[in-house]
Symmetry: C2
Subunit: 365 residues, 2 copies
Amino acid sequence: MSTAPTVYDVAEQSGVSIATVSRVYRNPDSVRAQTRERVLAAARELGYVPSGNARGLASRSTGVLGLCFPDYSDPDAESEAEAGATGGGDEADDDAAMLYSDQIIRGMERAARRHGYALLIAASLKGGPESLVAKVAGRVDGFAVLARTVPTEELEVISRRQPVVMLAGPRETDHLDHLDHIEVANADGQRELTRHLIEDHGLRRLAYVGSAEESPDVEARFRGYVEACRAAGIEVGPEPDLRVGMMTQAEGARAADALLDRAGERPEALLFANDQMAVGALHTLERRGVRVPDDVAVTGFDGIALSRLVRPALTTVRQPMRRMGEEAVELLVRRLTGAHGGDPVSMMLPVSVVRRGSCGCGVAG
Amino acid sequence: MSTAPTVYDVAEQSGVSIATVSRVYRNPDSVRAQTRERVLAAARELGYVPSGNARGLASRSTGVLGLCFPDYSDPDAESEAEAGATGGGDEADDDAAMLYSDQIIRGMERAARRHGYALLIAASLKGGPESLVAKVAGRVDGFAVLARTVPTEELEVISRRQPVVMLAGPRETDHLDHLDHIEVANADGQRELTRHLIEDHGLRRLAYVGSAEESPDVEARFRGYVEACRAAGIEVGPEPDLRVGMMTQAEGARAADALLDRAGERPEALLFANDQMAVGALHTLERRGVRVPDDVAVTGFDGIALSRLVRPALTTVRQPMRRMGEEAVELLVRRLTGAHGGDPVSMMLPVSVVRRGSCGCGVAG
DNA sequence: TCAGTGAATGAAAGCGCATTCACTTTAGGT
DNA sequence: ACCTAAAGTGAATGCGCTTTCATTCACTGA
């Protein structure tokens, strides 16, 4: 691991100028075959690898796309592991569960590969001032950011110099940012799922569990719920029946308890703003001897792997996170190749309701 | 997206030299608070983001670690999707299945984050000469490579200038490469699993299905199988009973057919070198009315998510791929911080046998 | 008041490559 | 053999930043 050889070394070794060495790599056809071979031989012998940094600096482009996401790793992973233990013996079940970020990464990686880009990924790690974004932004040709990872304002500054697409977050309404956005039809999905419960299963006493932290996703879902209820002539307040803090299984379990213990008639259906909570609720209900879906229907949102493994399998709304990753790359690439005008695009990806046992549709496993 | 502002712009705007601007970012304490504020204000106003390339060039380090893996994406994804359809209704099941690469990525990302590194990932894409490795190697401080992604020889050249760790591949025996290696105890796992079938289930007529393409992993597994058999006084030849081409479900299904149709006594257990094939075999056996595990036991290797979803659930050996990713980063970081001598390290991660229904241990889901 | 200190800042030299422009071969034509 | 166009090659410059090294300042103690 001595000092790495550079173009100068290769040039000297093969008796040409550094310009020629560079050409051998950038544009082989512009160098006579014989010369080229000589250079390549020298490079091989010296163990020369072109410096991406120098290259990027000189050519003003890196061939790398980026992805920034928030640091929601470890807590989630653990709560999923805890859940998996239910299965009976398999520890480390979290290994099998794909997080959002994994899906998006996969989508982006595939698409990036197709276009000849590599992918740089980084989670925020509650970093200081320049931390995350600077790290990524400074090293890529363009990048995607999961909503609420870094202040929109900051992104906007950056988007003046390179393409930035925001994932799963709506355009700022007050501010009207100029970023590209790719969202998921949260409201549509929750509306459709709610409609299903009401019309197809004849349920009318519904309870919605949302989140205290304000997330546009969760708000949109609740909005869809409200719309479906109103459309069916069911009264609903402007707020979810319950708001929890973290949207974890533990909170979901607690929420189910709270809802069941409330005075008045027991709800016929518990709608949760995500799968994690719904799974937690499933546990609570089982413990209390409340049958699902006979006594009460339960639904989630997201379509995580776990939703299919629990019993009864969870009815939910699947988000196309992988596709979102792919679309993000396509969009970035288009921007980089100069397509599109200056106008920011917003893209809304459709979701699909997955009907499974927990709402009474029992079939699929 | 006009020309991006540079240190020069910020320096001019704030009335200092570029050295000071640089210091504000690299070592804030060395600049008077008042000056620092002035610089940061200018930076904000201009939308300045330090160029990672220039930085890397000047400081000879990137703060990025890399991962290269082979391009086994799409074929696998599709075969898994096909399998998922068995479940009955959920399309897009491949979305829920984590590939090896996903696990490793996750492990590496977590560990890298802890150490303040970002992660650059790239799949080979059967690239030309410089393609993959050059792309990654030139942009990172060190990186991991999945075995058989690129010729060891090439890696070795690169490892002269930066840390390289090979994942899931043994050290070259003839050649004795100087790379760091992290492997999985394939032989141990298959030996233990085989022992389990023989001793705990009393099975003695076993059949092993390997792969035609020579992969050190698969060879090690077979070796473990042979060892366990010999230890139990069971005769086995030097070759698997069957070698298939691709280790896919389709091939596994075919293999089961072939094995069942062979003259002589039917085997009591079918051991496959990976889960994919074992799952395929499960389908064949069901179709033919052969009961698992009553008529014949079936085992896989890998512990993919699908192995738990099929019926009966597949007994297999779980590989700690995520942990492998983490260890890889730890190793790289240690190398970068100058720990370790020059001697290459080899690390062997333990695997665990997962006993499920398909071998007769029926319990867990 | 003045040399002596340490802190804050500036000047300048690269880091390794791409690229333009000018120059030298070589091939093609007569 | 001589000229022209095309193909190959080299010299030199700059990409945006980090990093000595030197310089300037504001103080300190004598």
